[in-house]
């Protein structure tokens, strides 16, 4: 039977970071209780009962919920979702509100992967991001995760922040590498509309420095498995299966405020308005994207080309009954070494990943239009 991924969004935070434009609300105990009730209703309402193999609880800050609320969340999940073949169960946490007690509860609930948002350990950078971090606490929590057997731990690292230097980034990386973790996600700062940073007219750092930072990260993590533009696993076995679903253009449910999903021929994003959500108006109708086979091929290309292995040509022709070459003419790109065709896979070389959009656009321009 077909399996599927599942994303559940917890849109609450105890404080709001200056760069975040994702769906978030200040933590409020009563509102969280109401939200969890509604989440249960939403799942009852829209879950098509496929067995779930990767489950990801993201936010906001899921770890901002109190023990009782977390118990309620796990109860809903266990009661309402088919987890019979669940392989990977991730929760996003913030070091500041994660406790030993909560980690114990995660373990009990079957969580086997924790993703911590750290972003930086440098005081000045944290101030800009309006975040906090404490080295001792971080080390303690991560050691505890390993101790009780949650040994799949990710750290989010942000870079290209105003005033950041290569030295600051290197210190961040050194600290992260001193921890007992096996996955790192790195993101360059994006200045999104309606964020504090954007409103305060903060500017991007120089493109050259940004690229140098990316190169520094890649070289520091040289021995790691760089399996997607911004993701590194200590070993192939520690790749995030759930996130790979996104990049492999595979299906996943989205439950909760502002979550996105992909089921069958539809991509959707749920409403970002908490009041609408709480009144049972879950889906944002404007967001629904109906996918033709061509659209699916489009996504296959733009997503898979972000990964180390690239597009699996054999799998492609199995799904679409034709070769990728019949849809897009990419011979020039291969000839010019912008694409590598090897072992039935088509990929972009790692040293070109940072300008991969240009290559992908060229790829799309090669669309064969003789129908």
């Amino acid at each position: 039977m077909k399996s599927i991924g599942c994303y559940i969004h917890i849109p609450f935070c105890e404080s709001i970071c200056s760069y975040c434009d994702f769906c978030k609300n200040f933590y409020n105990e009563k509102q969280v209780d109401a939200y969890l009730k509604e989440l249960e209703r939403e799942i009852e309402d829209s879950y098509s009962k496929l067995p779930i193999d990767t489950l990801y609880i993201g936010g906001g800050t899921p770890s901002s919920l109190n023990i009782k609320q977390l118990e309620k969340l796990f109860e809903i999940i266990n009661k309402k979702l088919d987890l019979s073949i669940l392989k990977e169960f991730t929760i996003e946490c913030n070091f500041e509100n994660t406790t030993i007690e909560k980690i114990n509860l995660f373990k009990k609930a079957g969580i086997n992967r924790i993703s911590f948002g750290l972003e930086s350990i440098n005081g000045d950078i944290l101030k800009i991001l309006e975040r906090d971090a404490n080295k001792e606490n971080i080390t303690k929590l991560i050691n505890y995760c390993n101790q009780i057997g949650i040994n799949n731990v990710n750290i989010d690292l942000m870079y290209a922040i105003p005033n950041e230097t290569l030295k600051i980034l290197e210190d961040d990386l050194d600290f992260i590498l001193s921890l007992n973790i096996n996955h790192i996600s790195t993101y360059s700062l994006i200045l999104e509309d309606h964020t504090k940073l954007k409103i305060n007219n903060i500017k991007y750092i120089d493109e050259e420095l940004d690229a140098k930072m990316y190169e520094l990260i890649c070289s520091k993590l040289e021995n790691w498995d760089h399996y997607e533009i911004s993701n590194f696993a200590k070993h192939k076995s520690y790749r995030s299966n759930h996130n790979l679903k996104y990049w492999h253009n595979e299906e996943y449910y989205g439950f909760g405020l502002g979550s996105s999903g992909y089921e069958g021929n539809i991509r959707y994003t749920k409403t970002k308005s908490l009041s609408k959500y709480l009144s049972g108006d879950y889906i944002n109708k404007d967001s629904i994207e109906y996918l033709s086979p061509k659209d699916k091929i489009y996504y296959d290309i733009i997503l898979n080309l972000r990964t180390k292995e690239g597009i699996d040509l054999e799998k492609f022709s199995k799904i679409y009954k034709k070769n990728l070459k019949d849809y897009y003419d990419y011979t020039d790109l291969v000839k010019n070494n912008l694409l590598i065709e090897k072992d039935n896979h088509l990929s972009i070389k790692e040293d070109l990943w940072y300008i991969s959009n240009s290559i992908i656009i060229r790829f799309l321009e090669g669309e064969v239009t003789n129908e």
């Binding site: 994303y7 969004h9 994702f22 769906c23 993201g58 790195t186 993101y187 360059s188 994006i190 493109e207 050259e208 940004d210 690229a211 990316y214 533009i229 911004s230 996130n243 679903k245 996104y246 996943y252 989205g254 502002g258 979550s259 996105s260 999903g261 992909y262 991509r267 994003t269 967001s287 994207e289 489009y298 996504y299 733009i302 997503l303 972000r306 912008l338 070109l352 990943w353 940072y354 300008i355 991969s356 959009n357 240009s358 290559i359 992908i360 656009i361 799309l364 321009e365």
Partner: protein, 599 residues
């Protein structure tokens, strides 16, 4: 219609001095249109005209006005207000006996006002000076009065108006009747009708605006164009009130429209004389000049499959614009396009804008060029209207370029900087005329190509916008000209080549490569930008390689955002032209023009 009760007049003014608003107010006062019907600036019917506040195509309106219990017929003939169209202006003036010289009460007389005034005087027109916009807080009526006196008007002749509030309009109408003479001409002489404008209508063919000077033309007459020799049957005649009213005939002194199922506007040349095939006039009316393009540029569709659409667009525009010329041209960099000729820069911009706006074709226009003359070693003469046509250096004996006499009208404070500018533009000083203590006309001989380049922008910036200028072609002069090529990534981009004076080539080359570095976005690899004369590189810049174009974040599986971002990047790319391996944005091709302020 009694001939002695006809008054044919036009309005001459500098852009923005309120010509169209004044025309509207006259229309309203004579009851031709009520306020409700008056769209702002009725006479300017094209959108672009209205937006740019200039009149491109001509128009003639018949207005009735009662004066001393007699009915008078006032024919208001509109004229374009830009130097590019000065020939068309002169023909409209030739259709009139009088002109209103409109001067803005705040701005005073400007070069164009003067140029048009001299045109009017050349055509023996009776001129009524009008100071308009007297309602403006910044109006300085006394000063403008003084200026008018300085150019030979009497204070008593001047009418003060505010087209905005309607003040002075009645007085102006009375003055028109009293001062402007009735047309002479005799109804029984052989027909001589002046063509002063034409317009293509997809239902009726070419509509010709005529002023009957001698004789009479009737529906059903067989007419002959004296210059082109074309013969047609008159299908219809009408006047514009400004609603169209059909009439059976137009007699000496009258102004109206003539329809004759004419399919090609090239048969109807502005300035030509219409006569009757079986009762020919002995001669043409004076003043005819064939229209000659002064400025050429290459026009290419960004999407190469739009070439045929572009041809169609140009053909359609040509129906309505005898001055526009075009012929197919091929560029290695840009593919198939057209070499187009225009009366001037404004004419060029208007055509480009109309193609993009009315025909929805995205264009790349190469930098404009004038027509150079090259005498080859075998003494043959080659006309070069495009850098691509420049003969090889070995066979060139000498090169010539067109010069204009340029009159700059300016407050005297700016004489110094303006003379410096003219010098910089390779100008030869002729003289300075003092209009009064504060205003002067500076006359220079300047190569036309320098005017086409960035003269106007510089003139305005050197004088905070106070100076205005006008020019007329005076002929060709020998000049040391060379072709300068631009190389992107080591390859010559033919569409970026320009012809420059050798002594100025280095500065131009520097400015162009610096500008291109600014405009061309970073590519996946480093791109050298070079300017070269022959094999000799005179300037170089490097566009550094692009380092980053991806965003990493993927919140909660929202990959649709990735798609949107990619689509945005893709759309941006669509506006660019792939030249060799380099993607070049549209503006790059015109950047050669606008390197002005950077040094």
């Amino acid at each position: 219609m009694k001939q002695e009760n006809i008054r044919n007049f036009c309005i001459i003014a500098h852009i923005d001095h309120g010509k169209s608003t004044l025309a509207d107010r006259i229309l309203e006062k004579t009851g031709a249109l009520d306020k409700r019907e008056l769209k702002e600036q009725t006479l300017d019917s094209m959108d672009i005209e209205r937006e740019r506040g200039i009149t491109i195509k001509l128009n003639a309106v018949q207005l009735k006005y009662k004066y001393n219990s007699e009915e008078y017929y006032l024919h208001l003939i509109d004229t374009p207000g830009h130097v590019d169209f000065s020939y068309e202006v002169s023909r409209s003036l030739a259709a009139c006996e009088g002109a209103l010289l409109v001067v803005d009460a705040a701005q005073g007389i400007e070069a164009q006002t003067l140029a048009n005034l001299y045109l009017a005087l050349d055509n023996n027109l009776k001129v009524i000076p009008v100071i308009n916009k007297i309602d403006l807080p910044s109006a300085d009526v006394d000063k403008v009065l003084e200026e008018l006196e300085n150019i030979g008007f009497d204070k008593d002749e001047v009418v003060l108006t505010s087209a905005k509030t309607g003040v002075g309009i009645d007085e102006l109408l009375t003055k028109i009747i009293e001062v402007i003479p009735a047309p002479k001409g005799e109804k029984d002489k052989p027909l001589q009708a002046l063509i002063f404008d034409s317009l293509f209508d997809s239902y009726r063919g070419v509509i010709t605006s005529i002023r009957v000077v001698e004789g009479e033309v009737k529906v059903g007459d067989v007419i002959k164009m004296m210059e082109t020799g074309a013969v047609y049957d008159v299908v219809g005649l009408s006047i514009n009130t400004p609603k169209e009213v059909a009439v059976k005939s137009l007699k000496a002194g009258e102004v109206g429209y003539l329809f004759a199922s004419i399919k090609s506007i090239s048969d109807v040349e502005v300035g030509d004389t219409i006569t009757l095939e079986n009762n020919k006039a002995p001669s043409r009316l004076p003043g005819y000049k064939p229209m000659k393009p002064m400025v050429y540029c290459g026009i290419y569709p960004i999407e190469s499959n739009k070439f045929e659409d572009l041809r169609e667009a140009l053909e359609k525009l040509k129906l309505n614009d005898a001055a526009l010329t075009f012929e197919p041209e091929t560029s290695k960099a840009l593919g198939f396009g057209f070499r187009c000729g225009f009366l001037g820069l404004l004419h060029m911009e208007i055509i480009e804008e109309r193609i993009e706006r009315e025909f929805h074709i995205d264009l790349i226009a190469t930098s404009p060029s004038v027509v150079y003359e090259v005498i080859q070693t075998d003494e043959s003469k080659v006309l070069v209207d495009s850098p691509a046509k420049m003969p090889r250096r070995e066979v060139i004996s000498k090169t010539l370029e067109p010069y204009v006499k340029c009159s700059i009208f300016t407050p005297s404070d700016y004489i110094g900087p303006l003379m410096e500018l003219c010098q910089e533009k390779r100008g030869n000083f002729i003289n300075i005329d003092y209009l009064d203590k504060e205003r002067v006309t500076i006359n220079y001989e300047i190569p036309l190509s320098e005017i086409v380049y960035d003269f106007f922008d510089k003139l305005k910036s050197y004088t905070k916008g106070y100076a205005s200028f006008d020019y007329e072609l005076i002929g060709y002069k020998e000049s040391n000209l060379v072709k300068m090529d631009i190389l992107l990534n080591g390859e010559v981009v033919d569409a970026l080549s320009i012809i420059v004076h050798k002594d100025f080539a280095y500065n131009r080359g520097r400015a162009v490569v610096e500008k291109l570095k600014e405009i061309i976005p970073r590519q996946m690899f480093e791109v050298p930008v070079q300017a070269a004369i022959g094999m000799h590189v005179i300037a170089r810049e490097t566009i550094r390689a692009m380092r980053k174009d991806v965003l990493a974040k993927c919140y909660g599986g929202d990959v649709t955002r990735k798609r949107k971002l990619l689509e945005k990047q893709k759309a941006g790319k669509k506006r660019m032209k792939q030249i060799g391996s380099v993607e070049v944005p549209q503006e790059a091709f015109l950047s050669i023009l606008s390197t002005g302020d950077k040094k």
